[in-house]
């Protein structure tokens, strides 16, 4: 755009005739004055024109500025448009993303339904468990009540046991007093009967015929048998009364010492003792000595009718347990009566065959049972006997 500098009102012809017209008016005063006025008017116009020109220039510049501004706006607008396009593009991407998000949200919702179903199942299961728990609780409460009852019962049973124990101790003390009295008082009259029978036989022999003497001898024998019976009975009761003292025992050595004793008591007999070495057991020394004395003593006694005899002490296995045994080749016994062997006062032989009170094996059985063991016998008439015991 070009800037026009010529004013449309200022025609060049007018400009040339202006100073001329002024010259004309200076010739004459009135005319001069009019000229001056016109001059001034032209000058004013010119001034106004200059002002107008300046205004116009300003307006031109403003218009130019506006055009410039418009260009800038246009450029900005293009930028905005591009940005808008970019935004639209971005929006498409967003839309895709959104759709994906929506899909995944739907999936999640699907999953959530499944979860919800699971949750229901879990809830039902939990409810079932709670039901079960309730039932269990009832059971536990019932069991608790039962337990409490059992505890009470047990306490009652314990009290009962303690009472029974006290009674037992009292009974035991009484038994002890009884045994003590028996051992002192029952024997004294026997001594009198035997002693004075003997005194009669000695002091009045000349007044007694053979039959009277025989009667007195029978009286004496009976008192002596009774004395043995009392002693055996006392021993039998002592076996259960005396407290046990557990220790390790060499039964082989014990058997040898008893064998020596019985041989010394009757050195005329020919009896071979075969005693196994190192048979060791746990038990009460005094009580097991009574067992061994009885079994070896019996073997000695019941082989006495034989010219020669063999008595054996050893050990063998029976149902996985070690059993000690005393074996002889003497009179033996009828196995039909084997169960009577261990009863008190039970005898399988008459006193004329073999003497005895019938308490020895009962004592053996008591002692063996006190040790937690068993005793049994095998034998046949005239073919010997074997007595086994476990501890």
């Amino acid at each position: 755009m070009s800037v026009q500098t010529s004013h449309p009102i200022l025609h060049p012809t007018l400009l040339e005739s202006g100073p001329l017209a002024l010259a004309h008016s200076q010739d004459s005063r009135p005319e001069q004055t009019a000229l001056e006025i016109a001059q001034r008017a032209v000058l004013n116009i010119l001034e106004d024109f200059a002002a107008e020109k300046s205004d116009l220039q300003l307006g031109q510049r403003a218009t130019l500025n506006i055009f410039e501004d418009f260009e800038a706006e246009k450029s900005r607008m293009a930028g905005a448009q591009r940005a808008a396009l970019n935004i639209l593009e971005d929006f498409t991407v967003e839309k895709t993303l959104l759709q994906a998000a929506q899909r995944s949200a739907l999936n999640i919702l699907d999953d959530f339904s499944a979860e919800k179903a699971h949750l229901h199942e879990t809830q039902r299961a939990v409810l079932n468990i709670l039901d079960d728990f309730d039932q269990e609780n009832v059971k536990v409460q019932r069991a608790n009540a039962q337990l409490e009852k059992e505890i009470t019962d047990r306490q009652r049973a314990e009290e009962e046991t303690q009472r029974a124990n006290k009674e037992l101790l009292a009974a035991n003390r009484e038994l002890e007093a009884f045994s003590y009295s028996v051992s002192h008082d029952l024997r004294a009259p026997l001594r009198s009967i035997d002693g004075f029978s003997q005194a009669l036989l000695e002091d009045h022999a000349d007044q007694l015929d053979s039959s009277a003497k025989d009667h007195l001898q029978r009286v004496r024998l009976a008192t002596q048998r009774m004395s043995v019976l009392i002693d055996d009975l006392l021993n039998l009761s002592r076996v259960t009364r005396t407290p046990m003292r557990w220790e390790r025992l060499d039964l082989s050595a014990l058997a040898r010492s008893i064998a020596e004793e019985v041989q010394k008591a009757d050195p005329t007999r020919h009896v071979e003792f075969v005693i196994a070495d190192d048979l060791v057991a746990e038990g009460d020394w005094r009580l097991l000595r009574v067992v061994m004395e009885n079994l070896l003593g019996n073997a000695w006694k019941y082989t006495s009718a034989h010219e020669r005899a063999r008595i054996e002490f050893g050990a063998s296995q029976h149902n996985g347990r070690r059993a000690f045994f005393v074996r002889d080749d003497g009179a033996g016994f009828d196995p039909r009566y084997a169960d009577r062997l261990f009863g008190a006062f039970q005898r399988l032989h008459g006193p004329n065959e073999f003497p005895g009170s019938g308490i020895g094996l009962a004592t053996v059985q008591r002692i063996v049972r006190r040790h937690g063991g068993e005793v049994w016998a095998q034998g046949a008439v005239e073919r010997g006997a074997t007595f086994y015991f476990t501890l």
């Binding site: 002192h184 008082d185 024997r187 001594r191």
Partner: protein, 148 residues
Amino acid sequence: MPNQAILLVEDNPDDEALTLRALRKNNIKNDVVVAHDGVEALDYLFGTANHAGRDPNLIPQVVLLDLKLPKLDGLEVLRRLRADERTKLLPVVILTSSNEEQDRLKGYDLGANSYVRKPVDFNQFIEAVRQLGLYWLILNERPPLRRA
């Protein structure tokens, strides 16, 4: 004192008679003093009550002491004898019916010198008395006397 006494402490008259018979059968000629209960035995030994005036320095050769006695039993008599200076060393033989372990244990515990069980068989009883006489009256040297 050539013939020192035997003190027999025995309440049963049958046993007393049989013991005296057994001593006689064995030709034991010592005097035999019989006390019928524990109190009488102590009175004799210490010269008190019925035996007041008896010289307690005359100590028997041996005491044959039964255990079951009226008033004071044999073990209590033994305890008192051992507690007294005069009879502390006096030989005491317990001669009794029982062989109860508790009797034997207490008897020896209290200082008995022997414990003999009276056998029922009178011949065995005579033999026991014979051996007792032989040992306590002949073989054994008694302790020196402590005069009161």
